[in-house]
């Protein structure tokens, strides 16, 4: 799925472009512990733990169907029957996983906001976009309509929509995908949330627009210090925006590390395989490497390590015993029996 143009946003090979921004990274804004999402007895996301600090961007990467989006949806409390979520979600130290819907509505959109993959579909097609952004302000306390109007224009200006007054009166179908995503971002940052969940916000957009949106998110983060959880399957985007990366596979986090470590020294065989599959790393004229097989269905996960059936380095132990997460220094972790041997 990697778009060839994304590999290089600045014309060079894929490398982490983000300089260390540790100076801006503060205390934990969001920490998720042992989050599981189940349908009946099948765990679609299992014991996932994540945390992201103020001013930090955590990228969630992995193949389609590995539970990235579901994890985000669960953080927002948007899981509905027949799915059920359990686990701890702490937002700025406050447990929100067990909040009743009414109180959760006070948190959603204000403390934690979300932007989606298909911005056009995520906007109400028959409401003017300005009104849709104004609505979130009114939900979270801006009572004066005139004030909301002014704020909407300021927000549109901030996210780089040209001629805000005119765009505010447009309907989503009159705007391009990139403009719709800017509207969504304006909506998301309207109440200055501490955490922004971005679920593949650039996947549906043109390459050039992708770069603009990523740059905008980085600028907004620098301004507001919000934490970002960014879901993508595009390693080019990861290199562009991540501070830390959590790699998900079949509903679990298999490796987490700083963006430089992930690109320079990936430890989990799956992460290495992902890196090897990047477009632009192979020799010209040779076939692109691919990971053979596919992600096991959540109902048919193997007994041992979940990646063992597709792993080139799987030994006898891997086939019988699940790989537990080993924590390393400075918050890195990997779930593999032989992370070193496989190097």
């Amino acid at each position: 799925m990697t778009l060839p143009g994304i590999i290089t946003l600045d014309g060079s090979a894929v490398r982490p472009a983000v300089q260390t921004r540790s100076a801006r990274i503060g205390g934990p804004a969001l920490s998720v512990t042992d989050l599981s999402v189940r349908r009946g007895s099948v765990a679609l996301v299992e014991n996932t733990s994540l945390s992201v600090a103020t001013g930090e961007t955590l990228c969630l990467v992995g193949e389609s169907g590995c539970g990235k989006s579901l994890t985000c949806t669960a953080i927002m409390g948007l899981i509905d029957a027949p799915l059920a979520a359990e686990g701890s979600i702490r937002l700025l130290g406050r447990e929100i996983a067990d909040l009743p819907e009414r109180q959760l509505n006070g948190v959603r959109g204000r403390d934690v906001a979300m932007i989606f993959q298909d911005p056009m579909a995520a906007l109400n097609p028959i409401q003017r976009v300005g009104a849709q952004v104004a609505e979130i302000l009114s939900v979270h306390g801006t009572t004066s309509a005139a004030e909301r109007g002014r704020e909407v224009l300021a927000l549109f200006e901030r996210v780089g929509l040209p001629d805000p007054a005119r765009q505010a009166r447009a309907y989503p179908h009159q705007l391009s995908g990139g403009m719709c995503q800017r509207v969504m971002i304006a909506m998301a940052i309207a109440c200055r949330p501490k955490v922004l969940i971005a679920d593949e916000p650039t996947t549906a957009l043109d390459v050039t627009i992708q770069a603009q949106i990523l740059r905008l998110l980085r600028e907004l983060q620098d301004d507001t210090g919000m934490a970002i959880v960014f879901v993508t399957h595009d390693l080019g985007v990861v290199a562009e925006i991540a501070d830390r990366v959590a790699v998900m596979y079949s509903g679990r986090v298999v490796e987490e590390a700083g963006v430089h470590e992930i690109f320079d020294a990936p430890r989990h065989p799956y992460t290495r395989a992902l890196m090897a599959c990047r477009v632009g790393t192979g020799q010209p004229g040779t076939a692109l490497p691919a990971i053979t097989g596919s992600v096991p269905a959540p109902s048919a996960r193997p007994d041992g390590c979940i990646f063992a059936p597709r792993c080139d380095h799987a030994g006898p132990l891997c086939l019988v015993r699940p790989a537990l997460t080993q924590r390393g220094t400075s918050g890195t972790r990997v779930a593999c029996h032989h992370p070193e041997e496989a190097q």
Binding site: L104, N105, G106, V107, A113, N124, P125, I136, H140
Partner: protein
């Protein structure tokens, strides 16, 4: 609204009306000689002949047709075969009663149908949903007059609370309006439910939730407006039918509206009145349909009924 768009719609409406009139004209004349049906068997042939000449029934069919059409265009709908009064006047005096009943019934339909459909959609698959859908099937499959007769039996015969027929006070309206109103509420509920179900799964409904909107606001501000088009369409069809379609209910309750006028005129072979009523019904249907078509552009800005809806 652009000119050509309206013009095209308008021309199509006229054509529909013409077809309706033509069809009624032909069918009524194929169904036997009205004069013979209206007069007693022992009336002399001379008298029959004179009536035919008076109503123009002795002319060839094409000529009768053209004369009728040209008069209708001039606003002359002919005179009743029974009492020589102008058809327009006969119909006009019935319209207020029918509108009264029709709008009241429509109000009842909407008050039951739309909330019922919304509740069913929000509780999809649960007991509430099944109960509501069960009731709609019951309402749909029970004949219209049955509820009317049951109501008369209970409220008029047993409790002696409400008059069983006639017109004049609000008590006269209660049972006809309920009978007519509930007969269509089930259909509206079903359309509302399916339209809502489609909308509730849309990504923008998740966005609304992610904004922190409560459920009532999500339903009223985001879901229902997006589900409006099918609901408005089915209500519009009903609105057209209410003018002439209350025949059964009006007959059961002896309610002097357009519907009972139609039934009586057909029974009496009063061709001029039947043609007039059918034309009125066709006209109402066409006008409501046109109105609905025009509301689409207002309900959903993506439906371009105008030049200014183009890309900004």
């Amino acid at each position: 609204m652009s000119g050509p768009f309206l013009l095209r719609k308008f021309a199509r409406c006229l054509l529909t009306l013409l077809l309706a009139v033509t069809f009624v004209f032909v069918v009524l004349r194929l169904s036997g000689d009205p004069v013979q049906r209206m007069l007693a068997d022992d009336v002399p042939a001379r008298v029959i002949e004179s009536y035919r000449t008076m109503w123009g029934l002795d002319r060839p069919l094409p000529e009768q047709y053209l004369r009728y059409i040209s008069r209708v265009v001039q606003g002359d709908f002919g005179v009743s075969f029974r009492d020589d009064r102008p058809v327009a006047a006969i119909i006009a005096e019935r319209i207020p009663a029918t509108l009264h009943l029709g709008l009241l019934a429509l109000g009842i339909t909407l008050l039951i149908g739309i909330p019922g459909g919304i509740v069913a959609a929000l509780n999809r698959g649960r007991v509430v949903d099944r109960v509501v859908m069960g009731i709609t099937i019951l309402g749909h499959s029970l004949p219209n007059f049955l509820l009317g007769i049951l109501l008369i039996l209970y409220f008029s015969m047993t409790l002696r609370l409400l008059p069983s027929s006639g017109i004049g006070t609000w008590q006269h309206m209660v049972m006809p309006a309920i009978t007519l109103g509930t007969s269509f509420a089930g259909t509206v509920a079903r359309f509302t439910r399916s339209a809502m179900l489609e909308v509730l799964n849309q990504p923008y409904m998740r966005t609304a939730r992610a904004k922190g909107l409560g459920r009532p606001a999500r339903v009223w501000r985001h879901a229902l407006p997006n589900a409006a088009i099918p609901i408005v369409t089915v209500i519009g069809l009903r609105l057209g039918a209410l003018v002439g379609g209350a025949t059964v209910v009006e007959t059961v309750f002896g309610y002097p509206g357009i519907g009972s006028l139609l039934v009586n005129s057909v029974a009496q072979r009063d061709l001029a009145v039947v043609q007039g009523v059918v034309l009125l019904i066709a006209f109402t249907m066409v006008v409501t349909n046109l109105t609905i078509d025009l509301t689409y552009g207002w309900l959903d800005p993506r439906i371009a009924t105008s030049g200014k809806g183009a890309k900004a």
